[in-house]
């Protein structure tokens, strides 16, 4: 990273925590949306960017998390934030279940299966499976989250909850990227046969990528349910999965910073140009086409030499 980008990143990190002080409520709400999409895109990045598995049904895991949280909260009065690990587990377990039989599929085939899973989940929700999802109307009356006795209700308060979780996610995911687990995902993205031939259980790691990415999307779903207090199937449409896919590819698959930047652009820019909302899809389409031709590696590709020479020479010292 050169000095200019480093100072821009430092500036954003320094200013962002104070954003609610000088932005109006609507603008803060947009930032909250960006935060949620950033979380989702970071979770998809594990699957798509790091492991190279084409998941175009990520909204299904998001929905699993949101509905788990909403049902536990409205039926069993479990405080919404307490459901965070549970909805993560539910989404992760669901992902493992549906991915297990299709994990050997590659590229386009896997993508079609994930699209199918996304649609099945959405249609199941609309049809009120098990009579607990509220059908097309969804679930309402989800209680406000409470953190250390403080009830979170205003967008300014949600801002800190959501972006706090984003910050934690970035911290954990950046570390994960430079670990045995993170490398294993990269190996299977680069060459599955060579990864298996180097002693890596590729099936297990593909499943783990799906499970972890889905679990994180599930937790983002909990935050979404808490923020909206109402959830319905239309929030988890195929289009959401496509948007997330686009954010990851546009930002630079495997790049945490690129994905964050793309979340800002894809979710934030349309809000800045509201009067041109009708042209949004046209612009997105054009941007994607130009990007794929001019800069297929993404806006801000993953930094390549991730183990620095200093670390290398340091390791050799006795």
């Amino acid at each position: 990273m050169n000095r200019l980008t480093l100072s821009v990143v430092a500036l954003v990190v320094a200013v962002l925590p104070f954003a609610p002080l000088f932005l109006n409520t609507y603008q803060v709400d947009v930032l909250n949306s960006i935060g949620l999409y950033a979380l989702l895109a970071l979770s998809l990045n594990l699957i798509l960017g790091e492991a190279g598995l084409f998941d175009m049904g990520h909204a299904a895991f998001y929905a699993m998390g949101a509905y788990t949280a909403a049902i536990l909260n409205t039926h069993y009065q479990i405080p919404i934030l307490w459901t965070l690990p549970l909805s993560g587990l539910a989404a992760g377990a669901f992902a493992l279940l549906v991915a297990r039989p299709v994990i050997h599929l590659r590229g386009d085939y896997l993508m079609i299966v994930t699209i199918g899973v996304g649609e099945i989940v959405r249609i199941a929700l609309v049809n009120d499976v098990f009579g607990i999802t509220g059908g097309a109307n969804g679930i309402f009356g989800i209680s406000r989250p409470k953190l250390f006795g403080w009830v979170i209700r205003r967008p300014e308060e949600f801002f800190y909850l959501i972006w706090g979780f984003v910050a934690l996610t970035i911290f954990l995911f950046l570390r994960l990227k430079q670990s045995r687990f993170g490398r294993a995902l990269n190996y299977l993205r680069e060459d599955e046969v060579a990864a298996e031939g180097s002693g890596i259980d590729t099936d297990a790691y593909k499943l783990a990528a799906f499970g972890l990415g889905a679990a994180w999307a599930g937790m983002a779903g909990t935050l979404f349910a808490a923020k909206m207090t109402i959830i319905s199937p239309e929030s988890f449409s195929f289009w959401e999965s496509v948007m997330l896919f686009m954010i990851v590819i546009l930002g630079g698959a495997g790049s945490v910073l690129g994905v964050l930047l793309a979340a800002f652009l894809v979710i934030g820019l349309p809000e800045l140009f509201r009067e041109l909302a009708g042209a949004r899809m046209l612009v997105f389409g054009l941007v994607m086409m130009v990007m794929m031709v001019v800069r297929p590696q993404g806006l801000w590709p993953a930094q390549t030499p991730r183990i620095s020479l200093a670390a290398l020479t340091g390791a050799r010292k006795p």
Binding site: L172, F173, R175, L176, Q178, S179, R180, F181, G182, R183, A184, N186, Y187, E190, D191, V193, A194, A195, E196, G197, S198, G199, I200, D201, T202, A208, L212, T304, P305, R306, I307, S308, L309, A311, L312, A315, R316
Partner: protein, 273 residues
């Protein structure tokens, strides 16, 4: 390797065919109507360098793919260290102590050389998602040790100065050597090299012969496929010759050089160089 020899003497594993590390018995693999490997049997002695040679399409790489579990044999047995390998998935076979390189180099192109070698360290490591996220002391120690081991292997093949270079940016010969370093990082007992000199110039091949000797000096048994006859004749002490999926000869390089069937099938077909 002394310990390994001692191990082989233990009553639990009485060697059945001398001190063979790898034994192929009656190995057969068919693809549709084509019999790619037909009842091939041979043994690789512990500590030796064995060459598998034969004209293109003779089934050499298929034999390798059978050993490493990429394919399942239709018939026959593969014993490694007197235990059968058939049915195991590739990563389990690697964990048993077999490592390989590929005919058409398969590196992790967009990762650095050191990251490529770290792949070989993977299965001996323990840490998972939580360890990686939290960087607990045990995980950091493990990472340091793996990095150290990976650097040793890079140094062993002479690539220490290229540690931070992306695999795709390495010279061709260096890519081949990086693949060997990655394979060695798994700490194998048997190293399988599929045309290691493929695409190498004369100096690089010369260096490779030296490297093979060094690997052998570490106590690693080597089985290799190679078309470069000078390399095969100098590096190997035993050769197995395949033609049309079947074994037509087996012996020392000198015996093979004089074998009339081999001359007809292979050497007579025109020198590679």
């Amino acid at each position: 390797m002394e310990t390994l020899v001692a191990d082989g003497m233990s009553p639990a594993r009485v060697p059945t065919e001398g001190m063979s590390l790898l034994v192929l018995r009656d190995l057969t693999k068919r693809f549709g109507g084509l019999t790619a490997v037909n009842a091939v049997s041979f043994a690789v002695e512990e500590g030796s360098v064995v060459g598998l040679i034969g004209p293109n399409g003779a089934g050499k790489t298929t034999v390798f793919n059978l050993i490493t579990g990429h394919y399942r044999p239709d018939h026959g047995q593969i014993l490694f260290d007197d235990r059968p390998l058939a049915g195991l998935r590739t990563h389990r076979i690697i964990a048993r102590g077999i490592a390989r390189t590929f005919q058409n180099i398969r590196l992790f192109q967009r990762l650095t050389a050191i990251e490529n070698v770290l792949a070989g360290c993977h299965y001996r490591m323990r840490s998972g998602i939580v360890g990686g996220m939290l960087r607990l002391p045990a995980q950091r120690r493990e990472e340091r040790e793996a990095l150290d081991r990976a650097l040793q292997e890079l140094e062993f093949v002479g690539l220490q100065s290229q540690a931070a270079v992306l695999a795709k940016n390495l010279a061709y010969g260096d890519q081949r050597r990086l693949e060997i370093a990655r394979a060695l990082a798994t700490q194998p007992r048997l190293l399988i090299l599929d045309e290691p000199a493929g695409g190498m110039n004369e100096q690089e091949t010369e260096a490779l012969i030296g490297l093979i000797a060094q690997i052998r000096a570490r106590g690693v048994t080597i089985l290799l496929i190679e078309h470069d006859m000078r390399l095969v004749m100098r590096a190997c002490e035993k050769l197995v010759v395949l033609e049309y999926g079947g074994k037509i000869a087996e012996g020392t390089p000198d015996q093979i050089r004089r074998d009339p069937r081999v001359i007809e099938a292979y050497l007579g077909a025109g020198d590679d160089d």
